[in-house]
């Protein structure tokens, strides 16, 4: 099953077979990361631009390592050093980048839809590395990869996503990806952050942590942003933590083999206790490792095609 997308702007609407194809491709790249010499020539001579309008050491590093392991040249542009500070618009930046003929552009931006704006303006593939509260598709793909690796499947799993769903791009992408692959999703949090009807029909909503994660195979914790307190989404971080912080007691009614994910960076002692974060069912470090493989897969699937490399030849190399 081929990957037909020109860009990866989100997981919404991505067919299940194409998601599985990305995960399978990532699987083949895991092995490279375990070698002594963690480099293959797949993207030699290709240029990948990491355009980051938001600080994110974790995601940017993950993309950079992924590109380097594929032998691509990487250029990091961060808002602090880019002309964004001088007021250059994203549309102008896009035109300038286009002139450099990159083979892929990875963009992280605080505004929802910014990657769509970029994708309309450039001819190279655009990979969304997180846009506002919209999507963070590579995070969701690595979450899916990690769950599948641990559980052997996605279909039929009960997955609880806990926290600030309203403002979470990770939650949105996971919601699309999990549902496409046949998992059942519950959203858990206060009504201010998990509005009624969010995600449409087929998604259940819980405002009580214990019942929300009862019987869950997977619990995905979201990072809580302190600034939401100022906007009255909840009265205090302390109260939030008391109601929705994940500790061992809260996990009592989850499946015995429940696994815990967190996109990082964690607020230990707030949305997740250290004993859970460092506990036996925590996949938080697996997520980081798998992130590189998933991003290698995406760069390979999108950037290799960017310059029109014959599809078949590339496919063979990945599966070898």
């Amino acid at each position: 099953m081929p990957f037909t997308q020109r860009h990866l702007l989100g997981l919404e609407g991505l067919p299940a077979e194409e998601i599985v194809h990305v995960l399978d491709t990532a699987q083949s790249f895991v092995e490279i990361s375990e070698r002594d010499i963690k480099k293959v020539p797949t993207l030699r001579g290709k240029t990948v631009i990491n355009l980051f309008y938001e600080a994110s050491t974790r995601t940017r590093t993950s993309f950079e390592i992924a590109a380097k392991r594929l032998s691509a040249d990487t250029i990091n542009i961060s808002a602090a050093t880019s002309s964004a500070q001088k007021g250059e618009t994203l549309a102008d930046t896009a035109r300038n980048l286009e002139a450099m003929r990159p083979d892929a552009i990875v963009i992280r931006h605080p505004a929802s839809g910014a990657p769509h704006l970029l994708a309309r303006a450039v001819s190279s593939p655009v990979i969304n590395a997180g846009d506002g509260a919209h999507e963070h598709p590579t995070q969701a793909l690595l979450d899916l990869f990690t769950i599948r690796e641990k559980k052997g499947r996605i279909e039929g799993l009960e997955v609880a996503i806990v926290g600030d769903v309203l403002h979470s791009r990770v939650a949105r992408s996971n919601l699309h990806g999990l549902r496409a692959l046949g998992a059942r999703v519950r959203l858990v949090g206060p009504p201010t952050l998990v509005p009624e009807g969010f995600g449409g029909s087929g998604v259940s909503i819980h405002h009580d942590l214990k019942t929300g994660i009862a019987g869950a195979d997977v619990v995905m914790m979201l990072r809580i942003q302190h600034e939401r307190q100022g906007a009255n989404y909840f009265p205090s971080v302390e109260e939030y933590s008391r109601l929705f912080g994940l500790d061992r007691a809260a996990l009592a009614d989850a499946k015995p083999d429940v696994v815990i994910l967190h996109p990082g960076p964690m607020n230990r002692g707030i949305e997740i206790s250290s004993e859970v974060a460092d506990g036996p069912y925590s996949l938080i470090l697996d997520q980081v490792t798998n992130g590189v493989a998933v991003r290698m897969a995406l760069l390979y699937l999108l950037a290799a095609r960017g310059r029109g490399e014959p599809e078949r030849e590339a496919e063979e190399r990945a599966s070898s």
Binding site: L90, A91, A111, H116, A133, H134, P195
Partner: protein, 440 residues
């Protein structure tokens, strides 16, 4: 406005709900006014300067737009009084009322006079300035409404933003009773809509954009209806966008509150799903709502709860739209698409042609207290001939407005103004050759 010689308009279907006419009638214009309406052929031997063959056309009182933004003074890169007036007459509007959120704000007689001078120089559509409620639109102190009224304003509004202070709104409603003019309400609760970029609902949740709930509008409409009731002042609700607003206005009218309301063609045509791929041209205030709201707006328009269709023509430069959706300016142009979009309601039998004319001409004239809205003898010779069957495509290059921020670019339209007459003078004629070039 200068007047040309007499014009006879012959062979058309004349629709004038104020006079109870809908049928074959010829029209004689002279001296800037309607001289006579009579049976077909009645003016065959009248000594006129020009005869207009109106066969296959509707002949209706010129459309009047209650609500547009002409951007001059201050934002001439978006629109000028002249370019806006050119767009108006091309869209079948013979008069427009322009909002006060210019720079400087129209909160003084001097700015009102300036706008009227620009309109006179353009000599296209009639332009009726709307004055600010508050000085500088700051929502603190009343603007000099009496001075502006003497200079020619037809209503007051802080449109672009709400009058947040209920006491100020109360005083505006009371004070304007003295002049018989309406306070036009841009209704949105500032706290509820803060940071919002589109309607709050399934689509905003999906797109990860901060929403503006329907309650943001309804809370303010509800407040202002109560204040209109308290004061006996005239309230006009601008751009109604939700079912709740329609219901609040309907109930207020039933208990005798002096309220009128308008709806835009875009709220009658689109839903929040038009934002789909973060299209900046689908961003405006109030935001596009749900299919259910749209249905309620059409029902309100049909039963008269909503009195008028107004464009809320809000031109913006493309650089103000080609940015991240949350950073894009609010507003869409509408003067040149309102006629065809609203004619869809006639095709869908929401409105009959007479009601359509009432909503776009007769009612706006009444709400603003200006002449026009009818073709009775003695009325201003403001007429538009409409080809209800003309098919055309909306293209940026074809728009006379300086700005092209329309969500309808590329849409197939049916119906257009073929000839627009203001004060007895032909100010716009659709040239078939030109249009075929554009539409081809």
């Amino acid at each position: 406005m200068k007047t040309d010689g007499a014009i006879a308009i012959e062979g058309g279907r004349l629709i004038d709900p104020a006079a109870g006419l809908d049928g074959r009638h010829d029209l004689l214009l002279d001296g800037g006014v309607v001289r006579a309406v009579d049976k077909p052929g009645a003016f065959r031997s009248a000594p006129v300067e020009r005869r207009i063959d109106a066969r296959g056309r509707w002949v209706v009182p010129g459309l009047i737009d209650l609500h547009c933004h002409l951007r001059e003074p201050g934002y001439e890169y978006k629109e000028t009084v002249a370019s806006g007036a050119a767009a108006a007459v091309a869209g079948g509007f013979t008069a427009v009322a322009c909002m006060a959120n210019t720079d400087p704000v129209n909160d003084s007689a001097a700015v009102t006079r300036f706008i009227l001078e620009r309109a006179a120089a353009a000599a296209l559509a009639r332009v009726h300035p709307i004055g600010a409620v508050s000085q500088g639109l700051r929502g603190e102190r009343l603007a000099e409404i009496g001075e502006m009224r003497a200079a020619g304003i037809v209503a007051v509004s802080d449109d672009g933003q709400p009058v947040a202070d209920a006491a100020l709104m109360r005083h505006a409603l009371e004070y304007c009773r003295m002049f018989g003019i309406a306070v036009i309400d841009h209704a949105e609760d500032p706290g509820l809509c803060a940071g919002g970029a589109m309607h709050e609902g399934a689509t905003s949740h999906r797109l990860g954009l901060k929403g503006i709930p329907a309650a943001a509008e309804e809370a303010m409409v509800g407040r202002d209806l109560l204040l209109a009731q308290l004061t006996g002042g005239r309230l006009h609700v601008a751009h109604a966008s939700t079912r709740g607003t329609v219901e609040l206005v309907r109930a207020a009218k039933a208990r005798g509150v002096r309220v009128t309301a308008e709806v835009t063609p875009h709220h009658l045509t689109l839903t929040d799903e038009a934002v789909a791929e973060y299209d900046g041209n689908a961003k405006m205030k109030p935001p596009l709502r749900t299919a259910d709201d749209r249905r309620a707006l059409a029902e309100g328009l049909a039963d008269g709860t909503i009195d008028a269709i107004a464009t809320d023509h809000a031109p913006h430069h493309r650089d103000e739209k080609a940015v991240e959706f949350e950073a894009a300016a609010f507003g869409v142009v509408g003067l040149e698409t309102a006629l065809a979009l609203s004619l869809r309601l006639v095709e869908q039998r929401v409105l009959d042609p007479a009601r359509w004319v009432r909503r776009l001409s007769t009612a706006p004239a009444e709400i603003l207290g200006v002449a026009g809205g009818t073709l009775r003898a003695g009325a201003p010779a403001d007429v538009v001939l409409i080809d209800p069957d003309a098919e055309w495509t909306v293209e940026a290059a074809g728009l006379r407005s300086k700005s092209k921020n329309s969500p309808f670019l590329g849409w197939a339209m049916k119906g257009r103004a073929s000839c627009t007459i203001v004060a007895g003078r032909v100010v716009y004629e659709h040239s078939t050759a030109a249009s075929e070039r554009r539409d081809g």
